[in-house]
C-alpha cells in the first residue's frame, strides 16, 4: 500500500471547465443559481475519503442506505503545496508548489451544485491521490497538461487543462486569499465537466503523461 500523500486537506474545484460552463450558461441564470459563479466553486474531500494508488474504491451508498445506483469519476491535476501560501498573487503562486500529482474524485453523479454535496462527494475512500509527486521543476507549464480517464483500458475522457476557467496559478492565488495553504495540502484544480460513469469492478486509470497514472478498482455493490 502506498503512502497517503495528503496532509491536512484536499480541496477540489468544480465547474472549472470552460466547455461545461458554456453548456450551462443558460442554467446558471435560472433558479437556484440565478447567476454564473464569480469565484472558484470549491469543495473538500475530507480525510475519510482519502485513498491511494492501487486500492479499492468502495461502491457508494445511496440515499436509501443501500448501494448507490450510479457512480462517476473525474480526474484532476493535484497541486501539492510546498511552503505556506497566504494571500499570494497569481504571478507568484507556482513558486509555492512543491510538485504535482493526480487526484481522482469518485462520487455520486453531479446532479446539482446548489448545496454542498456531502453524500455525493464525501463517501469513504473516494479520493485516491498519487501515485507519487512529480517535483514542480519538472513541469514548466501545468496549464499545458492533459488529463485522461481510462476505464477498463478504454479512454473515456480527455481534458486539456487549457480548458480550465481559472488556471492553476489563479486557483492557488484565489484559494490562498480565503485560507492559508500549508505544506502537503493538495488542490485538485479542475475536472472535465462531463464526469465518467463507472460500474462495480471497473478498473480506472487517471493519467497525465508527465506525472503518471493513478489506478484504482471499484468495489462491488454491498449486499
Amino acid at each position: 500500500m502506498t503512502e497517503n500523500l495528503v496532509s491536512s486537506k484536499l480541496v477540489c474545484v468544480a465547474l472549472n471547465d470552460t466547455t461545461q460552463r458554456a453548456a450551462m450558461a443558460a442554467a446558471f441564470t435560472d433558479a437556484p443559481y440565478k447567476q454564473a459563479p464569480t469565484q472558484p466553486v470549491l469543495y473538500y474531500k475530507p480525510r475519510n475519503t482519502w485513498n491511494t494508488h492501487g486500492q479499492v474504491v468502495p461502491w457508494a451508498i445511496g440515499g436509501d442506505g443501500g448501494a448507490a445506483d450510479a457512480m462517476v469519476v473525474g480526474g484532476s491535476l493535484g497541486v501539492v503545496i510546498g511552503k505556506t501560501a497566504c494571500r499570494v498573487s497569481a504571478e507568484q503562486a507556482l513558486s509555492y508548489v512543491q510538485g504535482y500529482t493526480l487526484v481522482a474524485d469518485y462520487s455520486l453523479p453531479e446532479v446539482s451544485y446548489y448545496r454542498p454535496d456531502i453524500r455525493g462527494k464525501c463517501q469513504d475512500g473516494t479520493a485516491p491521490v498519487g501515485p507519487q509527486v512529480t517535483t514542480a521543476d519538472a513541469i514548466t507549464d501545468p496549464d499545458a497538461l492533459e488529463v485522461l480517464v481510462h476505464v477498463n483500458g478504454a479512454c473515456q475522457s480527455h481534458f486539456p487543462l487549457s480548458r480550465l476557467h481559472d488556471n492553476v496559478a489563479n486557483i492557488i492565488a484565489k484559494l490562498s486569499h480565503i485560507m492559508t495553504l500549508q505544506p502537503g495540502e493538495v488542490i485538485a484544480t479542475g475536472f472535465c465537466g462531463e464526469r465518467t460513469p463507472v460500474q462495480p469492478g471497473d478498473t480506472v486509470a487517471i493519467e497525465i503523461g508527465a506525472i503518471g497514472t493513478l489506478v484504482n478498482t471499484l468495489g462491488e455493490r454491498a449486499a
Binding site: 468544480a14 469565484q39 473538500y44 451508498i61 448545496r115 454542498p116 454535496d117 480565503i178 500549508q182
Partner: protein, 260 residues
C-alpha cells in the same frame, strides 16, 4: 471534567479546570493559573481537529429569519482547521464587506471511530461538547455549494472553546440555552430544544455514508439573532452548562500583518 489546551511560557499544555476555574496540569496539580488570568493563550481544545461538519438552517427561527423554509434533510457543509482559533483570540473582518455575523453553536466532538451508527448508540461516539462561533461573510454567498467555502472556510473565523466538557457531564444537550452578547449587549438568544436535527440524528445521518473519527466535530447550527460585526467588537457566545467563548474582531490588515 473540562479539558483545555493553553500556551504558557511558549509551551503547549493540556489542562483541566476545577470547579473554581483553576487550571490543573495532567497530574491534577494546580498550575497557579485561573481561567480569568491574562498570562496565557487559549488554544483549540481539540488538539487534532479532523473533519468539521457544520449545519446550516438547523433552527427553525433562524431559517425563517433568512427567508428559508426549514430543511427536510440536514444542510451540512464542511469547514477546515484553518478556521479554528481559541478563546479570547481574534477573528478578522474582511475589507469592503457589508455584513459579517456570528453564529453561536453547540459543537459535539467525536471520540470514537464509527460508521452506520444508530441513533440510540450515537452518544457513545461523542467525547464531549464545546462551543464555536461559526462566523459568516454574507457578501460572499453564491448559489454554488452554498454556503460556499469563501463564506465559511476562512482563516480565524471559527473560534472554538474555551474547553471540552466531557459528554457524561452534560447528560442532556437537548435543552441548553444559547446566548450571544456583542460588547455586553444581548443580541442572540435561543435553546437547543429548537434544533431541527439533534446530535443523535446527525451522527446517524452522517455515519450512514461516512466513517466518523476522533477529532471530527459537528457544529450544530445557530438560532435567530444576526448582527453585523466591526473591528473592535467583542462577541461572547455562551451555551448553558458548557461555557462562554469570547472573540475580538480585528481588521483584515491587523490580522494578516506582513501578509496583508
Amino acid at each position: 471534567m473540562r479539558h483545555a489546551r493553553i500556551k504558557h511560557n511558549d509551551r503547549v499544555l493540556k489542562v483541566t479546570l476545577d470547579e473554581t476555574d483553576q487550571l490543573l496540569d495532567t497530574n491534577g496539580q494546580p498550575l497557579g493559573l485561573h481561567a480569568n488570568d491574562e498570562g496565557f493563550e487559549w488554544l483549540s481544545p481539540v488538539a487534532e481537529p479532523g473533519t468539521i461538519f457544520a449545519l446550516g438552517l438547523n433552527y427553525a427561527d433562524h431559517a425563517s429569519e433568512l427567508a428559508f423554509e426549514p430543511p427536510k434533510e440536514p444542510l451540512v457543509f464542511l469547514k477546515h482547521a484553518n478556521c479554528i482559533t481559541g478563546h479570547k483570540q481574534t477573528s478578522y473582518r474582511p475589507d469592503n464587506i457589508d455584513f459579517q455575523h456570528y453564529e453561536c453553536e453547540l459543537v459535539a466532538v467525536i471520540g470514537k471511530t464509527g460508521k452506520h451508527i444508530q441513533r440510540e448508540d450515537a452518544l457513545d461516539y461523542v467525547a464531549g461538547y464545546t462551543i464555536c462561533n461559526d462566523f459568516a461573510i454574507r457578501d460572499y454567498l453564491e448559489n454554488y455549494y452554498r454556503p460556499n467555502l469563501r463564506v465559511k472556510s476562512r482563516d480565524s473565523l471559527m473560534p472554538l472553546g474555551p474547553w471540552l466538557v466531557d459528554r457524561d457531564d452534560v447528560p442532556d444537550v437537548s435543552d441548553l440555552r444559547l446566548t450571544t452578547h456583542v460588547n455586553g449587549e444581548l443580541t442572540q438568544e435561543g435553546t437547543t430544544r429548537d434544533m431541527i436535527f439533534d446530535v443523535p440524528f446527525l451522527i446517524e445521518y452522517l455515519s450512514a455514508t461516512m466513517t466518523l473519527n476522533p477529532g471530527d466535530m459537528i457544529a450544530t447550527g445557530t438560532p435567530k439573532g444576526l448582527k453585523d460585526m466591526q473591528p473592535g467588537d467583542v462577541v461572547r457566545c455562551e451555551v448553558e452548562r458548557i461555557g462562554a467563548l469570547e472573540t475580538r474582531i480585528v481588521s483584515e490588515q491587523t490580522y494578516y500583518g506582513t501578509h496583508y
